[in-house]
């Protein structure tokens, strides 16, 4: 514990440097805007700004990009409460009671509860991350190729199990991602795979053009003809403070949301979306007056907002400690670290302590910044929501092209982004979630290498995966999840079906 404290002090000595503080602030500011603006989520925001970080030191780069991620969770609540439009997917549940509170003249209180709940959840989750990640990283040093293979399989199965779309659809998308990940030179044999004599494809397909295409351009193509800006309720600064009763009603939902969100954040899947849904469902289930939900219940804002912020921090645990992405956003963050020559995973904490602890410490500071940004400046941010969508989406397309092109100065990447944008549009039409595809693409190199290394080291004996205790346990958990998913598919009435209904209702 003393070592952790000393390391955290080292982290603060990095995070409190003026230049690092500046990039943390920039990340939080951009994240708030990204979260507020419908049509551009944290993934597209991070991907677009990835090239900007090339000239930066790794710590500053990751601090800024992570600031965008958790900043977007804060920003999303503003649009939900004031316009009943989720700025990003995790804010769907906040729309219901947040907007109802705003209609009752309690917009300021709803924003304050959302911001304070997010702050408490974010800070407590960073404390948990500080405690959990280093020992987990040390444990992961025992992992060899079979364990990594089993862990990645578990990650994909978990993602499929947690997904609100069907198991088959999720695994199908993950398969497409894995297949895309095999494009390029095979590192073990030097074979060119599916590159069709296009030399740029020799290095494989980058995650940035795929992610920006699927989530940035694909979203715009699906939504472009709609004018997504509507009437904005403008909160008054003096109305920002909730009443004593509202504070009392929000205390326990914030606590429960924090614990739930952090735990769900650790497992793969769209954790922040699932955590906010589950938090809302739990609060409604245990409320003394469940009939108030949907009509402006304080717990309906406090719980989900805390949960989605805690989940976004929880997602950093496997990313930092194991080098395993739990979703597309953490996958892009891992790619960002790799671009700076720093692999995420067990070696990060030992070989790059300044990056690891500087990043962790910056999250404490970032949460404070976000609280300051999201309360007093909310009136200013509201003006951003007045930008008409027919001016906004051309700008987003421009930044998508800049972001993708600048990664490798490759126009082929821009074409890949366009193709992925059209593919993303079609996937939405056919009710596929593109997130597992991105995850599949990201894990392919590690998965393929560890799978083949495992087989080589066992001379082709596939039972190696069941002879080693950690790998066998991970595969057993995967099997149990598959059985549970199959059972749910037959019963058709579990929490994921309800989540799908809520998402469908929101889209409608």
């Amino acid at each position: 514990m003393e070592t952790t404290f000393d390391s955290l002090l080292l982290g603060f000595s990095v995070a409190l440097q003026p230049s690092v503080l500046w990039y943390a602030f920039l990340g939080c500011l951009v994240g708030t805007l990204v979260g507020m603006l419908p049509g551009i989520g944290p993934l597209a925001g991070i991907s677009i700004l990835l090239p900007v970080t090339y000239g930066l030191e790794p710590t500053k780069a990751i601090v800024m990009l992570a600031g965008i991620y958790y900043g977007s969770q804060y920003g999303g609540s503003t649009t939900s409460i004031l316009m009943r439009i989720p700025g990003e997917a995790a804010s769907v549940m906040t729309c219901i009671d947040g907007y109802a509170m705003a209609q009752k003249g309690r917009a300021g209180a709803a924003l304050c509860i959302a911001a304070v709940g997010s702050f408490i959840a974010g800070t407590l989750s960073v404390i948990a991350l500080t405690v959990v990640a280093p020992p987990l990283a040390n444990f992961a040093l025992r992992f060899g190729p079979p364990e990594y293979t089993a862990l990645l399989v578990l990650g994909l199965i978990f993602l499929a199990y947690m997904s609100s779309t069907s198991l088959v659809r999720t695994l199908l998308m993950a398969s497409v991602g894995l297949l895309l990940g095999t494009i390029g030179i095979d590192v073990m044999t030097g074979h060119f795979r599916y590159s069709f004599d296009i030399k740029e494809l020799g290095d494989g397909i980058g995650i940035v053009p795929v992610a920006v295409g699927l989530f940035g351009l694909g979203e715009i193509l699906s939504k472009a003809s709609k004018d997504v800006t509507g009437d904005v309720i403008r909160p008054k600064l003096r109305e920002l403070l909730p009443s004593r009763e509202e504070w009392r009603q929000s205390a326990m939902p914030i606590t429960r949301g924090t614990v739930l969100g952090f735990l769900i954040g650790i497992v793969p899947g769209s954790a922040h979306i699932i955590s906010s849904f589950l938090s809302y469902a739990i609060e409604k289930r245990i409320a003394n007056h469940p009939e108030e939900f949907g009509k402006g219940a304080v717990a309906g804002v406090a719980g989900p907002e805390s949960a989605n912020n805690a989940a976004s921090t929880g997602a950093f645990v496997p990313m930092l400690a194991l080098g395993i992405p739990t979703g597309p956003v953490t996958a892009v963050l891992i790619a960002a670290l790799l671009l700076h020559g720093i692999p995420a995973g067990p070696m990060l904490v030992n070989e790059h302590p300044q990056v690891f602890w500087g990043f962790v410490a910056s999250m404490y500071v970032g949460n404070l910044m976000l609280l300051a940004l999201n309360l007093p400046l909310v009136g200013m941010f509201v003006n951003v929501l007045r930008i008409k969508y027919y001016y906004l989406y051309p700008l987003i397309i421009m930044f998508c092209i800049i972001g993708v092109y600048e990664v490798n100065n490759s126009i082929i990447d821009v074409w890949i982004m366009l193709i992925m944008g059209v593919f993303g549009y079609l996937l939405r039409k056919f009710d596929f979630d593109p997130a597992p595809l991105v995850l599949g693409l990201v894990i392919t190199p590690t998965f393929e290498l560890s799978l083949r290394q495992s087989l080589v080291m066992s001379s082709g004996d596939w039972t190696i995966f069941f002879q080693r205790p950690i790998a066998a346990t991970l595969f057993a958990v995967s099997a149990i999840l598959l059985l549970l998913a199959a059972y749910s598919a037959f019963s058709r009435r579990d929490w994921r079906a309800k989540l799908a209904e809520v998402e469908a209702a929101d889209k409608g």
Partner: protein, 148 residues
């Protein structure tokens, strides 16, 4: 039989899987003790075809294909065409000219906003963005034909 959403989606993935399998003939599968470059792609293609088939078999519960709304397709196609034109011109014309044309076309031609508003929007924004990337972010953008 009513053609449903998952008949089309599943069928498309099965067809894509078969097609990719056909162009994968030069990739060696290897042996378990010495896996080749084709092992993972083959396994993944097999899974893709399998999941595609399951989707087709379960398609009865999905929406009829005729009920999928395509009202936004013409707009999406126009936006894609403009973005594709911008991608074609980007390295030749450079960032400022290409993006000014992209923004102007989207705002004036596609969205039918006023000429002055479109010009006021599409000319300064690429210039300011270029200068911000060049000087503040130290990430130079494509210069193209002109000095910038």
């Amino acid at each position: 039989m009513i053609l449903r959403r998952d008949h089309i989606a599943g069928g498309a993935f099965v067809a894509a899987g078969v097609l990719i399998l056909a162009v994968s003939h030069d990739l060696p599968f290897g042996r378990l003790a010495s896996p080749g470059a084709g092992m993972l792609p083959m396994l993944v293609i097999a899974l893709m075809i399998l999941f595609g088939l399951i989707l087709v078999l379960q398609a009865g519960a999905s929406q009829p294909i005729a009920e999928i709304s395509w009202h936004d397709l013409p707009h999406a196609a126009r936006v894609t065409a403009v973005a594709a034109a911008a991608a074609s011109l980007y390295t030749t014309l450079g960032f400022v000219i290409t993006m000014a044309l992209l923004l102007f076309t989207l705002v004036y031609v596609i969205e039918r906003r006023g000429l002055l508003a479109a010009l006021a929007f599409s000319i300064p924004i690429p210039l300011v963005t270029y200068l911000a990337f060049e000087h503040a972010l130290k990430t130079p953008l494509e210069r193209g034909l002109l000095w910038f």
